[in-house]
C-alpha cells in the first residue's frame, strides 16, 4: 500500500466516522418526528364529534304536561320515551329491529342531552326546534372515515341498514361535526362518544398540587441545609449518597412504598389523588433537591461574606440574600421535577389510581385517574373510538409538559443572574 492509499483510507475512515454521528442524531430526530406525527394524525379528530340534527317537537300533550306545568312536573317528564319518539321520526322503520338499529346510531346519553336542553329552554314548550344530538361512536368513526365500508357486513360494526340510514342523513345534511366539549368536561365512560378527560385532568391537577405543596418546601430547605449549614461529616455524606441514589430508584418502587406504607399501614384512602400526590412527592423530592443545591452553589461566596460583614447572622445571610438569588434556578428545577411527576404512571397504578372513575373528582380525597393513567386505560381498550381519544389525551399531556418545561427554561434565562 502506498502512502497515498494509506492516507486515502484514513480520510475515508474519518468521513465514515463522522457519518455515524450524523446518522445517529438523525435516527433520534426521526423517532421524535415519527411519534409526533403519529399522535397528531390520529388524535386531532378526537377534538370534534359528529352530531345528528333532529327535530324536537316539545308538544304539551306528548310530554304529558298539565296546563300550567310546575318545576316538579318538568322534572318528572319521561324524556327517554319522548326522545325515542322523536328519533324514530327521523327515518321510516318497519319493525322493532330496525328501530333498534336506528336508535343505536345515537349516543346512549340522548335522553340526558334532550332533558338538559329542554330544562334550560322551557320557553320552547309547544314549539318545534332542530337540535343536534351526539352521534354514537360507531357512526362518528364511520363519518370520520375510520371504518372501511366495502368489507362484508359481519366484519363491520355498522350494519347495511345503518349504512342506508347514514346515507339518508348525509343527503339531507343532518350530520355535522362540532367541537367536542365532552372530551374536556366528562369523566371516563364505557361509551367512547361521551368519554372525556375532565376527570383525569382534575385528578392530575390535584396530585401535582399535593406533590408541589409537599415536595417544594422540603426540597428547598433540605438543599439549604446541605449546601449552607451541613458540617462535613459522615452523616452529611450519608444523606448526600442517599439522595443521589434515591433519584435513580425506579419509579415503580415508589409505588410499592405507597402501597405498603401509605395504604396498608396508614390506611389512607385508595385510588385518591392525595395518596398519588404524596407518592409522587416522595419520588420527586430528590429530583428537586439536586437542582436546588446546584443553584444555591452557583451563588458566589462574596454575597454571603458581604452580608456577614454588615452584621447579618448566617441564617439571615442565607434567607435574605442567597435563597432569593437562587430562586430562578430552584423554581425551574421544581417545575421540571413536577413535569416528570405529571407524566409518571407506574407508581399510580400500584396505589389504585387505575380504577374506572366516571365521576369528575371534586377534591383530592375523591377517587380519580390521571392523564397518563387515562392513556394507559384507553390504549388497552379495543374499541376504535378510544384510539383517537388516546392520541388526543397524549397531545394534551405533551402540551402541558411543553408548557411547564418552557416556563422553566424561560424563568431560568430571564431571571437568573450570571456570575462571572
Amino acid at each position: 500500500m502506498t502512502k497515498e492509499q494509506r492516507l486515502q483510507k484514513r480520510y475515508s475512515a474519518e468521513k465514515r466516522f463522522k457519518w455515524y454521528g450524523i446518522i445517529s442524531i438523525c435516527m433520534a430526530l426521526l423517532f421524535v418526528a415519527l411519534l409526533v406525527t403519529k399522535v397528531l394524525s390520529e388524535g386531532t379528530s378526537a377534538f370534534v364529534k359528529s352530531t345528528i340534527e333532529i327535530k324536537l317537537n316539545f308538544d304539551q300533550t306528548a310530554l304529558n304536561l298539565p296546563e300550567k306545568p310546575t318545576t316538579e312536573d318538568l322534572n318528572a317528564i319521561d324524556f327517554y320515551s319522548f326522545a325515542i319518539d322523536q328519533i324514530l321520526k327521523t327515518y321510516p322503520t318497519s319493525n322493532r329491529d330496525e328501530e333498534k338499529e336506528l336508535i343505536k346510531l345515537f349516543t346512549t346519553d340522548f335522553e340526558f342531552e334532550v332533558k338538559d336542553f329542554f330544562l334550560a329552554n322551557t320557553n320552547l314548550l309547544n314549539q318545534t326546534v332542530s337540535f343536534k344530538i351526539t352521534a354514537s361512536s360507531d357512526l362518528d368513526q364511520l363519518h370520520k372515515g375510520n371504518y372501511a365500508k366495502n368489507i362484508s357486513e359481519d366484519r363491520r360494526k355498522i350494519s347495511n341498514y345503518q349504512l342506508k340510514i347514514y346515507d339518508h342523513f348525509i343527503q339531507n345534511n343532518k350530520i355535522t361535526k362540532v367541537f367536542n366539549v365532552y372530551f374536556f368536561t366528562n369523566g371516563d365512560s364505557r361509551n367512547p362518544e361521551i368519554a372525556g378527560i375532565g376527570g383525569a385532568m382534575l385528578g392530575s391537577f390535584f396530585s401535582i398540587l399535593v406533590c408541589l405543596i409537599i415536595s417544594f418546601p422540603i426540597a428547598l430547605l433540605a438543599a439549604v441545609y446541605l449546601e449552607e449549614f451541613a458540617p462535613k461529616n459522615k452523616f452529611t455524606d450519608f444523606i448526600e449518597i442517599n439522595i443521589n441514589n434515591l433519584a435513580a430508584v425506579p419509579s415503580i418502587v415508589f409505588g410499592l412504598l405507597g402501597l405498603g406504607i401509605l395504604l396498608n399501614v396508614f390506611e389512607l384512602p385508595r385510588s385518591t389523588s392525595l395518596v398519588g400526590g404524596i407518592t409522587l412527592a416522595l419520588m420527586t423530592l430528590p429530583r428537586i433537591i439536586i437542582p436546588c443545591r446546584a443553584s444555591l452553589k452557583a451563588v458566589p461566596p462574596s454575597i454571603r461574606e458581604a452580608a456577614l460583614a454588615v452584621g447579618a447572622s448566617k441564617v439571615q445571610s442565607v434567607i435574605h440574600h442567597v435563597v432569593p438569588l437562587a430562586m430562578p434556578g430552584t423554581l425551574s428545577g421544581t417545575i421540571i421535577g413536577l413535569a416528570q411527576a405529571l407524566g409518571e404512571t407506574a407508581p399510580l397504578l400500584l396505589i389504585g389510581m387505575v380504577a374506572f372513575v366516571v365521576q369528575v373528582p371534586a377534591n383530592p380525597l375523591d377517587p380519580s385517574a390521571s392523564l397518563p393513567i387515562q392513556v394507559y386505560l384507553w390504549s388497552e381498550s379495543a374499541e376504535r373510538g378510544f384510539v383517537e381519544k388516546t392520541s388526543a389525551t397524549i397531545m394534551i399531556l405533551l402540551g402541558f409538559l411543553i408548557i411547564m418545561n418552557s416556563i422553566a427554561v424561560y424563568a431560568r434565562q430571564k431571571f437568573e443572574k450570571k456570575w462571572i
Binding site: Y11, S24, V32, I243, N244, I252, V315, Q340, G343, A346
Partner: protein, 468 residues
C-alpha cells in the same frame, strides 16, 4: 376536626407574632433598656413556640391514633369470648366493627360487632377530646413559657435561628426516611414471602406461575409435597432472563446511537447545531413512558409483526423486540447526555497532543478521547441499564405476560416490573404468597438498581475528580 384545630393554631400563632412584637417594644420603652434582637424576632419567637409543639402533637396524634384504637379494641376482643381465635380473624372482626361504625357495613351485624362499634365510637370521641385538651394546653403552656422569656429580654434571634436549623435538618432527613420506608415496606412483605417460599427456589427456579398460589386458605398446614409445589411456582429466573433480554435489546439500540450522537455533538457539531441538537435529543427523556408504551404496543409491535409475517416468520404481537427497541429510544438521552458531558470534560491538551502527532480527528477520538473518557461513559451506560431494568410502562403495555424462558427476540417474554404491576393492579389478598411475591420482586429490583447506581455514581465521581 384536624383542620379546625390547625386553623385555630395558625390564627393564634399569627396574632402571637404581633403581640410579641408590640409587647417587647412596650417593655423596652417602660424599663428603658435596649432589646437584644430586633422586635420582630420576639414576635417570631413567640409564634413559633406557640405553633410548632402543637402542630407536632396534632401530627403525631393523627398518625398514631388509629393504631392505638385498634390495639384497644382488639385487646378488648381477646379478653371476651373470642380469646381463642387467631390474629387474622381478629383483624377481620376489627374491620367489620369499623365498617359498621362508618355505615358501610352490609348485612346483619352480630351483637359482638355492634358492641364493638359502640366501643369504637366512644374511643374515637375520647381520643378527640383528649387531643383538643392536649393541643390547648400545649398552645397556652408553651406560649406562656415563651412570653416569660421574652419579658426577660432573651436572645430571641438565636432562639428563632436554632429552631430554623432544626427544621432544616428534619427536612433533609426526609430523604433518608423515604429510603428507610422503601426498605421497610419491601422487607416486611418479602420476609413473609420467604417464610413460605424457599429463597433459592425463588432465585433459581425455572417456572413462574404465581396464579397457582392465588386461592389458598393460609390456615391450612401444607404437606411437604404441596409446599414444594408452591415453591416451584415462584421460580423467578424467567423474569430475570426476560428483563435482562429486553434491557439488552434496548442497550444495543441506545448505546451506539447515544454514544455516536454524543461524540458528534461534542467533537464535530458547530455551536448552532449543538444548541439545537442537544435539547431535541433530551426531549426524548421528557416524553412520559406511557406514551412510549402506547407507541410500542400500537405501532411498533404490529409493524414488526407484519414484517415478520411477510417474511414468513412467526412473530408474537407482544414481541420482546418491539418493547426493547422503543425502550432503547427512550434511553438514548440518558447515554448521550452524560457521555457528552464526560467527553467535553476531557482536557483539550490531550486532543492537541494527538493532532500534533498527525492523527485525524476520528483517530484522536477513538484512540485518545474515548479511552480517557471511558470510566465516565461506562458510568453513564450503567445508569442507563438501571433505567432499562426499572422501566415499567413500556413493558407493561408492549411485552407479554407469560413467563417464557426464551432468547428469541420475536417471542414474547415478561419482566419483573410487568409482573409486579400485573399482580398488584386489581384485587389483592395481602396474605397470599402471590401478592407478597410482588414485593419480593420489588426488593430484587431495588437491590439490583441500587448496586448499579452506586457503582455508576462512584465511577463518574472518581472520573470527575481526575480531570477537575
Amino acid at each position: 376536626m384536624n383542620l379546625l384545630i390547625l386553623v385555630f393554631i395558625f390564627v393564634f400563632s399569627f396574632s402571637c407574632f404581633f403581640f410579641g412584637k408590640s409587647q417587647i417594644k412596650k417593655i423596652a420603652a417602660v424599663n428603658n433598656f435596649k432589646t437584644k434582637a430586633l422586635p420582630h424576632f420576639y414576635g417570631f419567637y413567640l409564634s413559633l413556640w406557640c405553633a410548632l409543639p402543637a402542630i407536632l402533637i396534632v401530627f403525631l396524634w393523627t398518625v398514631f391514633e388509629p393504631f392505638i384504637v385498634k390495639y384497644l379494641i382488639i385487646s378488648g376482643l381477646e379478653q371476651s369470648s373470642l380469646a381463642d381465635i387467631d390474629h387474622d380473624r381478629l383483624n377481620l372482626v376489627y374491620q367489620k366493627i369499623k365498617a359498621l361504625y362508618f355505615g358501610t357495613y352490609s348485612g346483619a351485624a352480630s351483637e359482638q360487632i355492634q358492641l364493638g362499634a359502640k366501643q369504637y365510637g366512644s374511643f374515637l370521641a375520647m381520643a378527640q377530646n383528649a387531643k383538643i385538651v392536649l393541643v390547648f394546653t400545649a398552645v397556652i403552656g408553651f406560649t406562656l413559657v415563651a412570653y416569660k422569656k421574652i419579658t426577660n429580654n432573651t436572645h430571641a434571634r438565636e432562639g428563632v435561628e436554632s429552631i430554623f436549623k432544626v427544621v432544616l435538618i428534619l427536612c433533609s432527613v426526609v430523604a433518608v426516611l423515604t429510603t428507610a420506608g422503601i426498605i421497610f415496606s419491601l422487607l416486611i412483605e418479602s420476609i413473609k414471602f420467604f417464610s413460605q417460599i424457599n429463597f433459592f427456589d425463588f432465585l433459581f427456579g425455572l417456572d413462574w406461575s404465581p396464579q397457582k398460589a392465588f386461592v389458598r386458605d393460609t390456615s391450612i398446614v401444607l404437606t411437604a409435597s404441596e409446599k414444594q409445589e408452591l415453591s416451584n411456582a415462584f421460580g423467578a429466573v424467567p423474569l430475570f432472563a426476560g428483563t435482562g433480554f429486553i434491557a439488552l435489546i434496548a442497550m444495543s439500540v441506545a448505546v451506539p446511537i447515544g454514544l455516536f450522537s454524543a461524540i458528534y455533538l461534542a467533537e464535530y457539531a458547530g455551536s448552532n447545531l449543538r444548541k439545537f441538537g442537544k435539547p431535541v435529543i433530551e426531549v426524548l427523556a421528557g416524553i412520559p413512558t406511557v406514551v412510549y408504551g402506547f407507541f410500542a404496543a400500537l405501532t411498533v409491535g404490529p409493524f414488526i409483526k407484519s414484517i415478520g409475517d411477510t417474511l414468513g416468520l412467526d412473530v408474537s404481537s407482544e414481541s420482546a423486540l418491539a418493547a426493547g427497541l422503543v425502550m432503547g429510544v427512550m434511553i438514548i438521552p440518558f447515554v448521550s447526555s452524560l457521555s457528552d458531558d464526560v467527553i467535553n470534560a476531557v482536557p483539550q491538551s490531550l486532543r492537541e497532543g494527538s493532532y500534533a502527532l498527525g492523527a485525524t480527528k476520528s483517530e484522536t477520538i477513538k484512540q485518545v478521547v474515548l479511552p480517557a473518557a471511558l470510566p465516565g461513559i461506562i458510568g453513564s451506560i450503567l445508569l442507563a441499564v438501571s433505567r432499562a431494568i426499572g422501566e415499567t410502562m413500556i413493558v407493561v403495555m408492549a411485552a407479554g405476560l407469560a413467563a417464557n424462558l426464551t432468547i428469541n427476540p420475536l417471542d414474547s417474554t415478561t419482566t419483573i416490573t410487568t409482573q409486579i404491576v400485573m399482580i398488584l393492579v386489581g384485587d389483592q389478598e395481602f396474605t397470599s404468597a402471590k401478592t407478597q411475591a410482588a414485593f419480593a420482586l420489588g426488593l430484587t429490583l431495588f437491590v439490583v438498581t441500587l448496586i448499579l447506581n452506586f457503582i455508576a455514581l462512584s465511577v463518574v465521581n472518581k472520573y470527575r475528580e481526575k480531570y477537575d
